[in-house]
Assembly symmetry: C2
């Protein structure tokens, strides 16, 4: 038996998550030599992704499946296979899939299948967190939804909220490559500088210093053709007012709303929605696990972004929480804007 530190779901809560109370790091016993059932693997978890949507599984009426109380919280992770009874997942390989935020874990054959687990090939020796960032779920989300829903045209104006986030910084770079004028909103000057100087965004405003409506009036005086929304709430409301005819809204996330108390995702009331009618806007929801869109772009996303990252023309950015002991605080910090790029915990 070894001590297996894990991030445990302690309490269903509508209010902002409190580390040590709603979620907490606890140590449980784990048998490294346990008998494995056929098809199972035993892994050492290396990196786990932190995603804003996870908060939505901690509330009373979750729109997505709820987390299990008093159990480790699972999410997309990279893990090294320590022991295997599954020929597709040999010992020593790195696997990406749904694993608990724990030092060690066992995945059954059934679990491996349902979590779309697969081995990671890394011939170009990218840092492993890249496979949870631009080359991972957020990168695919950005890529697939940008092309499938955004239908970008050169010269159009593109606005992305939470622009320095996991999805935002990827989609902004894609829009730049396609010749669009790229505007982002962020919550700190540090993030604004990162986007302007390192990723070549055309314009960025800090919504903590300037109202979204004012920032957009100043930076997008001719309106918005594509709005990539990761924030929802007031940001969405302000952007609706500025959409151009036939504009497209990619409704990818609503981080401003995940912690609200009036039921799931239903805090802020969006008042400018009639602009969708008047401007003949199309607003389409997207989640990366969508079986109808993701796979269509999966190979293209991986080939293109790998090439661009290797040649230095594209950046995958992560903020890494170091150590599972810091994971509860790191998760909470994500909602206070502490990460640039993808939030990842290194176990």
């Amino acid at each position: 038996m070894v001590a297996n530190k894990s991030l445990i779901f302690k309490r269903v809560h509508e209010t902002p998550t409190v580390a040590g109370q709603d979620i907490a790091v606890e140590s449980r016993e784990f048998d490294l030599d346990q008998e494995l059932s056929n098809g199972s693997i035993l892994v050492e978890v290396l990196y786990v992704s932190f995603d804003p949507y996870m908060k939505g599984r901690m509330v009373e009426k979750p729109v997505m499946g709820p987390y299990e109380l008093d159990q480790p919280i699972p999410n997309t992770a990279l893990a090294r296979i320590l022991r295997s009874k599954n020929e597709s997942f040999p010992t020593g390989e790195i696997v990406r899939g749904d694993f608990p935020i724990s030092r060690y874990a066992v995945a059954t054959a059934e679990k491996l299948q349902s979590g779309f687990a697969h081995l990671i090939q890394n011939p170009l020796n990218f840092p492993l967190d890249t496979f949870l960032a631009a080359l991972g779920m957020p990168g695919l989300a950005a890529y697939a939804s940008f092309y499938e829903i955004g239908k970008p045209k050169k010269g159009e104006t593109f606005y992305v909220s939470a622009a320095a986030g996991a999805v935002g910084h990827v989609v902004g770079q894609l829009a730049k490559r396609e010749g669009l004028r790229v505007i982002g909103s962020v919550g700190s000057d540090e993030k604004a500088n990162f986007l302007l100087k390192e990723l070549g965004f055309d314009a960025v405003f800090n919504y903590k210093k300037e109202k979204v409506d004012e920032g957009l009036a100043r930076l997008a005086p001719d309106g918005i053709d594509i709005f990539y929304d990761n924030v929802g709430g007031e940001t969405l409301d302000a952007a609706l007012l500025r959409m151009n005819p036939y504009g497209r809204i990619i409704a990818c996330g609503a981080i401003s709303q995940y912690s609200r108390v009036q039921g799931p995702y239903s805090g802020y009331g969006v008042t400018n929605i009639f602009n969708i009618t008047v401007k003949r806007v199309t607003m389409t929801g997207y989640i990366v696990s969508d079986p109808n869109i993701g796979p269509k772009y999966g190979a293209e996303h991986m080939v293109n972004l790998s090439k661009w990252i290797a040649e230095g023309s594209f950046k995958s950015k992560s903020t890494i929480v170091d150590g599972i002991d810091n994971s509860a605080d790191g998760f909470v910090g994500m909602f206070y804007g502490q990460n640039i790029g993808k939030a990842v915990v290194k176990i």
Copy 2:
């Protein structure tokens, strides 16, 4: 000189329109023998359409063009040509186009062009109001947006709000023809009966007797695939909660919001919008004057609906306000649900 009674726009107002105060019937002098410029026609207006969106042109910051103060309010109308200096519009013919709500009017060549005016052919001798209802703008709006945005599939569940309205009663019949399960919401039992007994809707609820959310829970327990929204506000909010994955929302109107006071169309805050993301819903705005959609379906709409109406398998319903003297009250009444089908004033 003759007396030319007209419905005059008297006052910009955010609050619900008051007849005799915000709009009023007044008599102005009109010269029936006036000299006509080349390309002009002089008409006797027969029927004028009343549409909810008109309220949106009476507010302080109209999203669409504002009406001119102290002038007759224009809208789509049918008129008989009394005199003509335009070969395309001969004396005696019936023309459909933008005319003031007046007994008499002159339309210049320029006006005839910008208003998409055209002669009405009526070989099947339909009542004239049909050309402002199922065979008019609302009918085309319903037809084009239902197919273009709704992408209906047999067996799906279809929900239309303001279902007994000008657009609603047409689109509901189309959905029935395509083999969908059709649910409507209305504001009176008389309307509910009309839809159930005369148009064959599958289910209808009265939102004044049952909350929209409860009505939908009862009548659409398996969710909604296509929501055709003419109401906005709370109705939209309730429907968002019940959308099925990959559902489509046709955002055609928001009659509940046109009279609100917090700026144009921005009264009620829609709180369930994140369901668009989670359910991967597509919500698309539509206005009938859209040059990219209407014309594509114009001929098909006219041929099919004429045939179906003639053979008795499709109904065009109007409520006719009798006489221009009653037009101010008739307009206001539209917002209190007084019409079944298309609201039309017979001059």
